[in-house]
């Protein structure tokens, strides 16, 4: 809403005066480096279960990429909730993730192989590599430079993506072609407290790798506080060419994971005039750490846009 205010200010200032933006020397306080954890466990794509470790840097540092953290010991353990609500961890089958360049999943770019930890079986025995199961808990343990970090996530029952349809056709004046938007059809479960994230893959990101390589959408019905149990048809604000093949991933998450990505969406508006000092809703335990271990229960559907 504050953007309206901005637009009006611009409108007024454009007419009456020249409101301006200037470079300005801002002397920032020194930074305390933090460990940044980006971990995923999902039920659909084994190669999309990985952990990225990096470190935060001074704001004025011109290294415009992640600063990978190598040499960490990273373990993922599956757990089942017991009748007394405690979780029994299957320590015998804990999976150790390693920093490997795994050619089969097309992640050969050198810039990403450091600091990204996979299940090694993806290279050798991919059909048995780590895969999340809905209804189970997963714990993440990280040991690096003598410090320990832990996190737990839960994979909820995935909400089934019933159908996709193409709607809202329009002519894109720049490209001079017809385009359309996709509507997702699904029923919010009757139980309250469900939350979903939406990812998509189409022609322009077909061969990208990683959750960050997909297109993610923020939309209004992300939690079901107001729309519990309703049948939903949600238009996602991305448009595609006719005949383009589009995959949609409806990702069900537990609330803490939703809260993290919700704070991430707010925090990423960090470069404009209305950036607010949003701090991520960290789910990792340990000193000087930020990040999330995201349990994703994925339901997928493909459409050829008509």
């Amino acid at each position: 809403m504050r953007k309206i205010f901005y637009i009006v200010m611009i409108m007024v200032s454009q007419f009456y005066f020249t409101s301006c933006e200037r470079d300005f020397d801002i002397e920032l306080k020194p930074n305390k480096p933090m460990l940044v954890v980006e971990g995923y466990i999902n039920n659909a794509m084994r190669e999309y279960n990985y952990v990225v470790l990096s470190r935060s840097q001074d704001y004025y540092s011109t290294t415009l990429k992640n600063l990978p953290v190598s040499g960490a010991k990273v373990t993922v353990t599956e757990g089942i909730v017991q009748p007394d609500n405690s979780i029994a961890w299957d320590d015998d089958n804990a999976v150790v993730l390693r920093e490997r360049n795994i050619s089969t999943i097309n992640i050969s770019s050198r810039s990403i192989s450091n600091g990204i930890y996979f299940d090694e079986r993806l290279a050798t025995d991919s059909s048995n590599a780590l895969l999340g199961k809905p209804g189970k808990y997963y714990s993440l343990k990280i040991e690096v430079d003598g410090n320990n970090y832990t996190a737990v996530t839960y994979l909820p029952v995935p909400v089934s993506l019933d159908d996709l349809s193409s709607e809202n056709h329009f002519i894109d004046a720049d490209k001079n072609e017809e385009r359309a938007m996709v509507t997702l059809h699904y029923k919010d479960p009757d139980s309250l407290g469900n939350a979903q994230l939406v990812y998509s893959r189409s022609d322009d990101n077909r061969n990208n790798f990683g959750w960050g390589g997909l297109r993610s959408s923020r939309f209004i019905n992300a939690t079901d506080d107001l729309i519990n149990g309703q049948y939903l048809s949600v238009v996602v604000s991305a448009d595609f060419a006719i005949q383009e093949k589009v995959d949609y991933y409806l990702v069900s998450v537990e609330r803490s994971v939703y809260n993290f990505w919700n704070s991430f969406n707010k925090a990423k508006d960090n470069a404009g005039p209305f950036s607010t000092p949003v701090v991520l809703d960290n789910t990792i335990t340990g000193d000087d750490v930020v990040g999330c271990f995201s349990g994703f229960s994925v339901s997928r559907k493909t459409i050829v846009v008509k």
């Binding site: 409108m11 454009q14 007419f15 306080k29 480096p33 704001y59 709607e167």
Partner: protein, 789 residues
């Protein structure tokens, strides 16, 4: 106030009251101007003993039989002196004649504030308001009061007013005694008060009297002008951004009158004509209408009717691509109606009964392609208020009263149709009762010591019918709801609010003052933006949200110099505030039925010293105000529980205002302001997140996320600016009906780029990291033509 103190006061009052002799008569003096409009803040002297007449401009006193010399003076009027031989109860009506040119007038503070026992108070009259240069020539009482010490504005285009370290929602803004919830139009440099309709504005920033309550930090009273009782008059102004027109006249000649003032901006129309390319179909305008009527029933009964309606409308349309139209429409505004009956029951006793309706509403509609989204929220109040004043003699006065408000909160209703599907949601309305009773006494204990002691008892009760959803501590809905029947209590609070102030005269031209006040606030403004904005929601105290509680002590020294041509005051204050409310960064306020989960609670503290030197007579008039202060907050869930500076903490704050006549036709005014920059939170570092690999470019994709450390640890550059204005009256001595004047003003004369906000930017293509500042107003000249007939 302690019970002992109260008992002593009452006993003193009773004892001295018995000495009144039988050979006394009532002298009543009504002071009006030539248009029969009562003149408040008049000074009256009886045998050279000065008395400031209260805002009702009626002076009543019990005096010994005998001869008296009476002198009456008021700002901008010729003084009158006459003798009275008091041999019976006497009523006098005195008409004051206005001075032709009101250049040397004392416009700030009532005459002889040095002996008025209401510290931390300042009044600005319309004549001064009209002289002060303001951006785009719009007279604005709320912007002008920020030139007084202890009262700060948030910066250019920031609507908030911050009084002695308090928040923008902690000011009780009253238009003729009626609360105004959102006193600003969208552009922060416009308040809802049309200068054409305003008579004066008064700010009480400490020692708040018992008759006021419901806000923690200050009382800002805007008094609107009464209409001319003799003939129909029109006045108005044409400016660059807006025009205004005012019409006034008698309803019953010499007795009852009306005034209607209206204003509209036309930035939308001009922009559409001249810069259509950059504006497109977007538009913004506001209008407001002020109306007031007073009905004279007889010399003891008056009825006043006040009406205000204002609305802002913003439209944003983007239809570059067919079928992908984006449309955003938002309308918001206040409506206020009040009816008050003033009655003088006898020479000692008067009362005022007011019925008030107040409404604030916002409606917005968002369309994106085939999807639509509607949102509305609002607040409405019904209020009844009854105030009594009893003066048994010149040294003792009592005030008491009752106030009851019925609040209806509409936190938001939304509806959406997305493609084939619609959903509707509704956040339950909330209701609350707010009530207060007060009693205060104003007593001259000796000829040099005056004490005003009062107690206010306030009560707040949030009641049904409503439905509340139950959430876990982490914000997850449990699925359970709690239903409250109509009138069923949800949360209840009540507090005593003692108020006391003392004045000790040091001779005829100096005084010492001391005050203590406790204030309670039951409503909080939910806002995340620095500018008061339409997304603002007023939320009532609830089980979780405790009422705000503030205590303030202030001490001051006041002195008149050179026979009253100069006035000097020094005041120090110390204020503590508890149950202060902040929102988590990025909090969602709209359509959030668990808004309380976005709130965090803490405490605040503010202290400082204010200097004020005013020159009231001579060619050059004006004032210098300087404040040295500190305002801080402490929240367990913010900044690791450590104290941090309030965003509007301003170590140094300086204002200089000067008025000077340049011959008969021209006069000039200048303003200079300087303030320490706002305290803001800046990042200390950043990191990459949401990492992926872009196959096409063969590179890493990620999003930069900022890392923050301490809150409000960075100081924006100091804010300073100078404005000047020239008023040109072509025919100052014209006796014709039609008179006009030109106001030429220049805002920010030396073109200082005061940052509106600053931010960091990372350019990944250019591999540069830079700080940026955005400023709104470079040097801005403007011209307004004002007329009157």
């Amino acid at each position: 106030m302690s019970r002992l103190m109260r008992t002593i006061l009452i006993v003193c009052a009773l004892l001295t009251g018995q000495t009144v002799s039988a050979q006394q008569y009532w002298l009543t003096v009504h002071v009006t101007d030539s248009a029969n409009i009562l003149q408040p803040n008049t000074t009256l002297s009886i045998n050279k003993k000065l008395i400031v007449v209260d805002s009702s401009s009626v002076f009543i006193s019990l005096l010994e039989q005998g001869k008296y010399k009476i002198k009456i003076s008021a700002v901008g009027y010729h003084s009158i002196e006459f003798a009275v031989n008091l041999m019976a109860d006497t009523i006098l009506s005195v008409k004051l004649n206005a001075k032709d040119k009101v250049l040397q007038g004392v416009m700030v503070t009532a005459n002889r504030t040095v002996h008025r026992n209401q510290m931390s108070t300042q009044v600005i009259g319309i004549t001064q308001l009209k002289k002060i240069p303001v951006i785009l020539g719009e007279i604005d009482p709320l912007k002008t009061i920020t030139l007084l010490p202890g009262i700060k504005s948030g910066g250019d285009a920031s609507a908030g007013i911050y009084v002695r370290g308090g928040g923008p929602d902690q000011n009780l803004v009253l238009l003729d005694g009626i609360t105004v919830y959102n006193p600003n139009h969208l552009l922060g440099f416009f308040s809802v008060f049309n200068g054409e309709a305003v008579k004066s504005v008064e700010v009480i920033k400490g020692g708040i009297p018992a008759e006021y309550g419901g806000r923690l930090s200050s009382v800002i009273t805007v008094n609107s002008r009464d209409g001319n009782k003799d003939s129909v008059k029109a006045s108005g102004g044409i400016g660059l951004l807006s025009s205004r027109l005012s019409l006034e006249g008698p309803l019953v000649k010499g007795k009852s009158s009306f005034i209607i003032s209206a204003r509209r901006t036309y930035v939308d129309q001009l922009a559409k004509t001249f810069v259509k390319d950059s504006i497109g179909n977007n538009g913004y305008y506001f209008y407001d209408i002020n109306a007031k009527a007073n009905f004279y029933i007889n010399s003891n009964n008056n009825i006043n009717f006040t009406f205000y309606k204002g609305s802002d409308k913003f439209t944003y349309v983007n239809k570059e691509d067919i079928g992908k139209e984006r449309m955003f429409d938002v309308v918001w505004g206040n409506a206020i109606t009040g009816l008050s009956w003033k009655q003088q029951l006898n020479a000692n006793l008067k009362q005022e009964l007011s019925l008030i309706y107040n409404n604030f509403n916002i409606d917005s509609r968002i369309n994106f392609g085939a999807s639509g989204f509607i949102f509305s929220s609002g607040l409405s109040d019904y209020q009844v208020k009854n105030d009594w004043t009893y003066s048994s003699n010149t040294w003792l006065k009592w005030k008491w009263g009752l106030q009851y408000i019925w609040h209806n909160f509409k936190p938001g209703a939304g509806a959406s149709n997305s493609g084939m599907q619609e959903f509707k949601s509704q956040i339950s309305d909330r209701h609350a009762r707010e009530a207060a009773a007060y009693l205060s006494t104003d007593i001259n204990i000796t000829s040099s010591l005056n004490i005003i002691a009062g107690i206010r008892y306030s009560y707040f009760n949030q009641v049904g019918p409503t439905e509340q959803k139950i959430y876990t501590a982490s914000g997850v809905p449990t699925g359970e709801t709690q239903q409250y029947e109509k009138g069923e209590s949800i949360a209840k609070y009540h507090y005593p609010e003692p108020r006391i102030s003392a004045l000790y005269k040091l001779g005829n031209d100096a005084s010492l003052r001391l005050s203590y006040a406790r204030t309670i606030q039951y409503l909080h403004l939910a806002t995340t933006s620095a500018a008061t904005f339409p997304s603002d929601l007023w939320t009532p105290a609830s089980k979780l949200i405790k009422p705000g509680n503030a205590q303030q002590v202030a001490a001051g020294y006041f002195k008149e110099l050179k026979n009253g041509s100069y006035e000097l005051s020094v005041e120090a204050y110390y204020k503590t505030m508890s149950n202060q409310l902040e929102f988590k960064p990025g909090a969602r306020l709209l359509l959030n039925q668990n808004i309380e989960n976005e709130m965090i609670f803490g405490a605040g503290k503010a202290y400082g010293i204010e200097f004020f030197l005013q020159k009231k007579t001579g060619k050059l008039t004006g004032w210098i105000g300087y404040t040295l202060s500190r305002a801080e907050r402490k929240f367990p869930d913010m900044n690791e529980g450590k104290t941090f500076p309030y965003r509007y903490d301003r170590t140094h704050d300086l204002s200089i205002v000067a008025n000077y006549p340049l011959g008969k036709k021209w006069e000039t005014s200048a303003v200079f302001v300087y303030g320490t920059g706002n305290a803001v939170t800046m990042p200390t570092g950043r990191f990459a997140y949401n990492i992926g690999r872009n196959a096409e470019k063969n590179e890493v994709m990620f999003t930069n996320i900022n890392q923050y450390d301490k809150i409000n640890d960075y100081r924006m550059p100091a804010y300073h600016r100078m404005d000047i204005s020239f008023i040109y009256t072509p025919k100052p001595n014209s006796t014709k009906q039609f008179r006009s004047s030109w106001n030429f003003s220049v805002y920010n004369v030396y073109n200082r780029y005061n940052p509106y906000f600053i931010y960091m930017t990372v350019d990944e293509e250019e591999k540069t990291i830079k700080g940026k500042k955005v400023f709104l107003f470079p040097v801005v000249p403007s011209v307004t033509w004002n007329f009157k007939f």
